[in-house]
């Protein structure tokens, strides 16, 4: 199996780190060293172009938002991008500032061939809200060269390499200004022109780096690429171009970060149970939110659902200018088995998803399972464990389906209890006398009784207080 390399270039990364947090294209330009570096589509439509001075750009487009370049955010983004691409390839290499290469020859079969892989990769990058150029070639250096001239090249035959490279203009290579001048002075305009010259002569005149670049592109010289190693924690930061006033905008930005997280988790074959979200404000302390799931998961959608419920319940205390998402404990999570026979039911939510959603709004204490406890005292014979955790089930016949939280004292007449009229005792007594060991002991005689309105009640006479009757449940 031969290696096949895909180069990805993100020329608009300086702008993308600000832009990907919002839904529509902002009117925005990134400034680096007093010159515009990258401009958004809407700004370009106003006539603003890279290389302009900020004052000139403002005169063309008065509402233009100018932001200072953030190289730290860019490198952070590139690193997270590489983390996420580990789901497509085991060999991802970062080439700062804007490039990544990944080996896809080994993994294309997993994604159903080259077309399937490209489709999934494109969808992944699109969901992250990035702009990219891509090229696939048999050597990493060649892929980078094709990528730099605009991308959209895809070929796998090694024999075609020399012919394809020959057509590229020389500015595809990384050249110093002196080298560019020298090459154009010699009348060398394409890589083909350079390749026709003897390599030793070219190296002597223009420096070894040039001929080395060409030899790497042709696969004649080894081209080792460092493998990207993901960090075992997630820290994602997203600056919003305009402060978000409602939860919808915050959720959109959060969705982007969750996609980053999901991609990292998929690459690492890991899952998270709790993530920490911080909403940054202009002049307030950050709002912390802890998002929890019932079990390990790498599904960003589930976390988003929990976040949505939380944000709808707790209004924003101030406009949000940025988000920080952190996950400290990434734990190994193998893929969940899928059921062969139940294809029709895949749209169903799992019970964990349902309880998470209910718990996010109602509070986790409001959701529980139901179980029995081996105790003779009726009020202690049941409990509320976590859902799906109770394995011991003791069936007790002759118990009511409804139990009152506290026994309710009944009025008496002639020694017999009353509840909407005189009660008629039907079955009993059942004596329950237990609990001496913990000081909560009871001594009661229970009866099934029928009320005048037709309801069946569970009543008892307390043997410690003779003559007093209590209602403890309904037979429902």
């Amino acid at each position: 199996m031969s290696l096949l390399w895909q180069a990805l270039r993100f020329p608009e990364l300086p702008l993308d780190v600000f832009r990907r947090g919002c839904d529509d294209e902002p009117l925005m330009a990134v400034v680096d060293a007093q010159r515009l570096l990258t401009v958004s589509r809407t700004a370009a439509a106003d006539g603003v172009s890279p290389g302009m001075r900020p004052a000139q750009a403002r005169s063309l487009s008065p509402d233009l938002q100018l932001v200072q370049r953030r190289p730290d955010l860019e490198q952070d983004s590139l690193r997270r991008l590489a983390d996420g691409l580990l789901q497509f390839s085991g060999w991802v290499s970062r080439q700062p500032p804007f490039e990544l290469v990944l080996e896809i020859g080994g993994s294309q079969r997993l994604f159903g061939g080259m077309a399937g892989l490209q489709q999934q990769l494109n969808r992944h990058l699109q969901q992250l809200g990035l702009h990219w150029q891509s090229a696939v070639a048999p050597t990493a250096a060649a892929a980078c060269l094709f990528c730099r001239v605009g991308g959209d090249t895809l070929f796998t035959e090694r024999e075609a390499l020399a012919a394809r490279l020959a057509a590229l203009p020389i500015h595809a290579m990384e050249l110093t200004p002196a080298q560019t001048r020298a090459l154009s002075g010699l009348g060398l305009l394409t890589l083909g022109d350079c390749l026709r010259l003897p390599a030793a002569e070219l190296g002597r005149r223009l420096g070894d780096t040039l001929s080395e670049q060409l030899q790497r592109a042709l696969g004649e010289r080894p081209d080792p690429r460092p493998n990207h190693r993901p960090r075992p924690v997630f820290h994602g930061e997203l600056a919003l171009p305009a402060a978000a006033h409602d939860s919808a905008a915050v959720l959109f930005a959060l969705q982007r970060l969750l996609r980053d997280l999901q991609a990292l988790l998929t690459g690492l074959q890991a899952g998270v149970q709790r993530v920490r979200l911080r909403l940054l404000h202009e002049d307030h302390a950050a709002t912390p939110l802890l998002l929890g799931l019932q079990g390990l998961s790498r599904d960003g959608e589930r976390l988003l659902v929990v976040a949505r419920e939380r944000l709808q319940r707790t209004p924003l205390k101030a406009p949000v200018t940025g988000l920080i998402l952190e996950a400290r404990h990434l734990l190994p999570l193998t893929a969940s088995p899928t059921d062969l026979l139940r294809h029709g039911q895949t749209a169903r939510m799992s019970w964990q998803q349902l309880t998470e959603r209910l718990g996010a709004r109602l509070g986790e204490a409001a959701i529980s399972g139901l179980g029995t406890v081996a105790d003779h005292r009726p009020e202690r014979a049941w409990h509320m464990p976590a859902p799906a955790s109770d394995r011991q089930q003791t069936a007790s016949p002759h118990r009511p389906l409804w139990l009152l939280p506290e026994p309710q004292q009944l009025a008496c007449r002639n020694g017999l209890p009353e509840h909407h009229g005189q009660l008629q005792l039907c079955q009993g007594p059942e004596r329950i006398e237990s609990g001496w060991w913990d000081g909560q002991d009871i001594s009661r005689d229970y009866y099934q009784a029928r009320a005048a309105d037709g309801s069946r009640l569970w009543v008892f006479q307390d043997r410690r207080q003779p003559g007093r009757w209590f209602l403890h449940g309904y037979f429902g």
Binding site: R348, M349, W351, Q353, L354, L358, R361, L362, G363, A366, I367, S368, G369, L370, G371, T372, P378, A381, W382, H383, A388, S389, D390, R391, Q393, T394, A395, S396, P397, H398, R399, P400, L401, W402, L403, L404, P405, L416, L425, Q427, G428, P429, E430, R431, W436, G439, S443, D445, R450, A451, A452, D453, G454, S455, R456, Q461, G473, Y474, F475, G476
Partner: protein
């Protein structure tokens, strides 16, 4: 004139008995006489059923128990939302319900109750959702009906007579009454695919289902081990404590235990 009539019939609040589909998926109620009257032969699946009862404790839960016992042993869940009292686990287990499939939801506020019911119905995780929604207007109930259809879930609303006075979009509405003799009467107020109100008598007091064996481990086990462990069925032995109801004279406890010894024990504590 006919236009006006057609206009009226297009009104979503008007339901025509003849227009409803007769064949609907259903879960047997466990009461043969009731199954015979219901279209599909049981509680409608993927629809809303309203059980209206005047008082508490007249068998409103007992009416649902056989169906819930069966559903709890299938792969999906049963959600109890906003119950008015404690659903008593030992009694539910005695009715044959697998408690590890029960989800108990106790919202604090009324709006949260309706929201939770809708979520549980829609999710498709639950085979049945039993809820006590209290006051709910027709539009809220219609949302629940749609959610039940989406999630293929049997929704049971247990409501009192006063709450249930308005018209309702539920597929099935029944009213449960019990006279002083303990005979339960079930009126079918509204039943799609069945014309005219009907009523029948049910014996709800006699338990239909004794405790079924609970498979061990309930759901988490893997194929072969689970089969091996559940193969020798271990029925919980259920013996009636009192084989027959006592006579009218035996109302007060007959058995007097010597209490002195106990009191001494108490003092020792």
């Amino acid at each position: 004139m006919t236009d006006a009539l057609h206009e009226l019939l297009r009104e979503p609040r008007i339901w025509r008995a003849t227009s409803a589909p007769v064949t609907t998926a259903a879960t047997a109620t466990g009461f043969a006489e009731l199954d015979a009257r219901l279209p599909g032969g049981g509680w409608p699946q993927a629809a809303l059923t309203e059980v209206i009862h005047a008082q508490q404790g007249i068998g409103e839960l007992q009416l649902l128990m056989p169906a819930l016992a069966r559903l709890s042993r299938a792969s999906r869940w049963i959600a109890l939302i906003a119950p008015p009292h404690i659903p008593y686990a030992p009694a539910l287990a005695a009715c044959g319900i697998d408690l590890s499939r029960i989800l108990l939801v106790r919202p604090q506020r009324h709006v949260d109750t309706l929201w939770a019911v809708e979520q549980a119905l829609r999710a498709g995780t639950c085979a049945a959702v039993i809820c006590w929604p209290g006051q709910a207007d027709a539009s809220a109930l219609r949302r629940l009906q749609l959610a039940a259809e989406t999630g293929d879930c049997a929704g049971f609303l247990l409501r009192s007579e006063t709450d249930a006075a308005q018209p309702s979009p539920a597929t099935l509405r029944v009213r449960l009454r019990r006279d002083t003799e303990g005979v339960s009467q079930l009126d079918l107020i509204k039943c799609r695919g069945n014309v005219g109100p009907q009523s029948l008598q049910l014996k709800l007091d006699t338990p239909r289902v004794q405790a079924l064996p609970v498979s061990w481990p309930p759901h988490g086990g893997r194929g072969r081990e689970r089969m091996a462990e559940t193969a020798p069925a271990r029925p919980a032995i259920v013996r009636p404590l009192y084989p027959k109801p006592r006579s009218e004279q035996a109302r007060v406890p007959q058995l007097q235990l010597p209490l002195d010894g106990e009191r001494q024990l108490d003092r020792m504590h």
